[in-house]
């Protein structure tokens, strides 16, 4: 197998080349568009910006959670506590609102709690070296208990009209505050991953922890940061859900764990770490929500919905993996950081 010599004269790729050379992403995008357009054909309805926006509104919460979960996957871990964090965030926010605290304070408090939970997770995972699955499962269990204990006397559901408006009010063309928030989160996360040293280190850590350690990456700090971001995103989503639904359901977070993981996987992020980016995840979220919507309109039973979603997830995973099983290709490789 010949090697090129020197290789200095590699052309700088054009923008179009950069975007399209990640095959996985292109296919995913195509599938997303296809699925979305097919909903109109199947339900014989018409495209309207309003409908698209309401879809995005519903998707925004999952979108925010998955922004955090993606980080955990990128370093080869996982956060199974996001559901409980979402629930707890909603409950805490509710409690604080009934104490008539202003929105800013409540938001700060809830996010701080998220950061704290993430820090605890991060500590046990990076310093004590408990496996992320185990630690976050345990933490999820603990937080679930805490949520139950907290609600056991407080049945009032506090809320703030400002929050409700943010989550629900139409700011024009059907865009709600939550969608904008999702956009902001998505862009911030992408910038973080692609343009900061931290983002680079996340990929290096996920790809080869030992090499990262020996290259001077502060593995403890990176892991702590990752899990703190993850829990903070979950907390943010939790408070948004509170605003959107107006109540605190104990099962509020449950719909964001497994579907969140599914969306991250659909988005091409490898559970082994080191590969993937938020662009794919966002499309994955969109596909998942569109699918759910479509199936709901088709009156598909929960049973069949589950089967279909499981089958689609399986197919996608298989497709992604067979693309990687080719070891020695000399064509442009998948770009890691989109």
């Amino acid at each position: 197998m010949k090697q090129a010599n020197g290789g200095i004269s590699l052309e700088k790729p054009t923008i179009w080349q950069k975007l399209t050379h990640n095959r996985k992403l292109v296919i995913l995008f195509a599938v997303g568009i296809l699925l979305y357009t097919s909903t109109f054909l199947i339900t014989s309805s018409v495209f309207s910006v309003k409908n698209l926006m309401s879809l995005l509104k519903i998707a925004s919460f999952l979108g925010i959670v998955t922004a955090g979960q993606m980080f955990a996957f990128l370093i080869g871990g996982i956060d199974m506590s996001v559901a409980s964090v979402i629930t707890l965030a909603g409950i805490t926010g509710s409690v604080l609102f009934t104490m008539n605290l202003p929105l800013g304070a409540v938001l700060a408090a809830v996010l701080a709690i998220g950061l704290l939970i993430g820090a605890v997770n991060g500590f046990f995972i990076s310093v004590v070296r408990i496996h992320p699955m185990v630690m976050t499962l345990a933490m999820g269990s603990i937080l679930k208990g805490v949520s139950l204990i907290l609600t056991n006397g407080i049945t009032r559901s506090g809320n703030s009209s400002l929050l409700k408006n943010f989550a629900n009010k139409n700011l024009g063309y059907g865009i709600t505050g939550s969608v904008i928030l999702w956009l902001v989160v998505g862009v911030s996360v992408t910038l973080l991953l692609r343009c900061t040293v931290f983002g680079r280190q996340v990929y290096i850590l996920g790809s080869n922890p030992e090499a990262a350690y020996q290259s001077g990456v502060n593995t403890v700090r990176v892991q702590m940061a990752v899990y703190m971001i993850c829990s903070m995103m979950a907390a943010l989503a939790g408070i948004m859900v509170l605003g959107y639904t107006g109540t605190t359901a104990l099962a509020a977070g449950d719909g964001y764990l497994l579907p969140g993981v599914a969306a991250v996987l659909l988005g091409g992020v490898s559970p082994l770490g080191g590969k993937g980016g938020y662009g794919g995840v966002a499309i994955g979220v969109f596909i998942l929500i569109t699918l759910e919507n479509l199936l709901m309109v088709l009156r598909m039973t929960t049973a069949d919905k589950n089967i279909l979603e499981g089958a689609i997830l399986l197919i996608f995973i298989i497709i992604y993996n067979t693309k990687f099983s080719f070891r020695w290709r000399r064509l442009p490789n998948d770009r890691n950081m989109v």
């Binding site: 408990i130 496996h131 933490m139 204990i149 089958a311």
Partner: protein, 314 residues
């Protein structure tokens, strides 16, 4: 001699200590704990947890993880509840459903094997599929398990030995026999280094088939015993069971990376998890604390194990 034994079996030490402490705590809180009838009831209620612990262990040893365990239990449970009640035919039906569990589990394993995918991810997809199938069989709780089935499964043999306990012992014995054969070494080898196993000419496929089929059988048994307790079917019964099974196995010293761990550890872990869920309920402790305690014990046990292992290396 004791030091070598500690090194070899030290990973199940924490969980045994935890079990003993739980016994002691419940003993002080409940006066009639140490009675034969109480133990019999306890055995019946812990048995499903022991079986799911064993099921998860089989997959963990191979280097994977089964996230679809709970859904498969739900499926088997609703199948039992909706097809039993035909007298002598029930035996065949039970065997058939157990076989079906083995096949379904094997399908999952084969996908993992053929496409070389992480088991967590594949089983996640299958958990959706199996839970959907379970809902198709029965969309709301219902069905009935006839007394002719419940009876033998909850009986006490010779008036003393609970049937579930006997079943557990039988399966543990079977596993330990297998462990001493080349299949046993094979499973641990694959869990240690799948690529290396393949390059060394080991029949990796056989390991996958055996482990996943055995796991499926354990899942079916768990569902069977659970059905005998609830005497009905519930398509969501398996919800928390996946997490319970992982907790039980990890408590018992089974490594996430694969190729390491003892079945007896998981069995004890299953007992601990089962006790947490049941006994605390017994003692009228509000369910909320169960979750906190379960999470706390898990963190403690794993951390203790890790620190012990690191101390060993220093």
């Amino acid at each position: 001699m004791p030091k070598k034994m500690l090194k070899k079996h030290g990973d199940i030490l924490p969980i045994i200590l935890i079990l003993i402490s739980m016994f002691l705590i419940t003993m002080t809180l409940q006066s009639n704990f140490w009675s034969v009838s109480n133990f019999q009831v306890l055995a019946r209620q812990l048995a499903p947890y022991v079986f799911i612990a064993m099921a998860q262990t089989m997959v963990l040893l191979l280097g994977g993880m089964d996230m679809a365990l709970g859904s498969l239990v739900s499926f088997a449970n609703v199948m039992f509840a909706s097809t039993l009640g035909h007298g002598a035919l029930d035996l065949i039906t039970i065997l058939g459903i157990l076989a079906l569990c083995m096949v379904m589990s094997a399908i999952s394993g084969l996908v993992v094997y053929w496409f070389k995918l992480p088991a967590i991810v594949v089983s996640l997809a299958f958990s959706f599929i199996w839970s959907g199938v379970a809902l198709r069989v029965m969309s709301v709780p219902g069905g009935h398990i006839p007394n002719t089935v419940v009876g033998p499964l909850t009986a006490n043999i010779g008036g003393v030995l609970p049937a579930p306990l006997l079943l557990i012992v039988l399966f543990i014995a079977f596993w330990y026999l297998v462990k001493r054969t080349s299949m046993g070494v094979l499973i641990y080898a694959v869990g240690n280094n799948r690529e290396g196993a393949f390059t060394s000419g080991l029949p990796v496929l056989k390991a996958y088939l055996f482990s996943y089929c055995f796991s499926g059988l354990m899942i079916g048994m768990a569902a069977l015993l659970l059905s005998a307790i609830t005497t009905s079917g519930d398509p969501n019964i398996g919800g928390p069971l996946t997490i319970n099974s992982v907790t039980a196995a990890v408590l018992g010293g089974v490594a996430f990376s694969g190729g390491k761990g003892k079945m007896i550890g998981s069995v004890v872990g299953g007992m601990v998890v089962g006790m947490l869920v049941n006994v605390l309920f017994y003692l009228r402790v509000p369910g909320h604390y169960t979750y906190v305690v379960e999470g706390g014990i898990l963190i403690f046990a794993v951390a203790a194990n890790l620190i012990r292992e690191r101390g060993k290396r220093a």
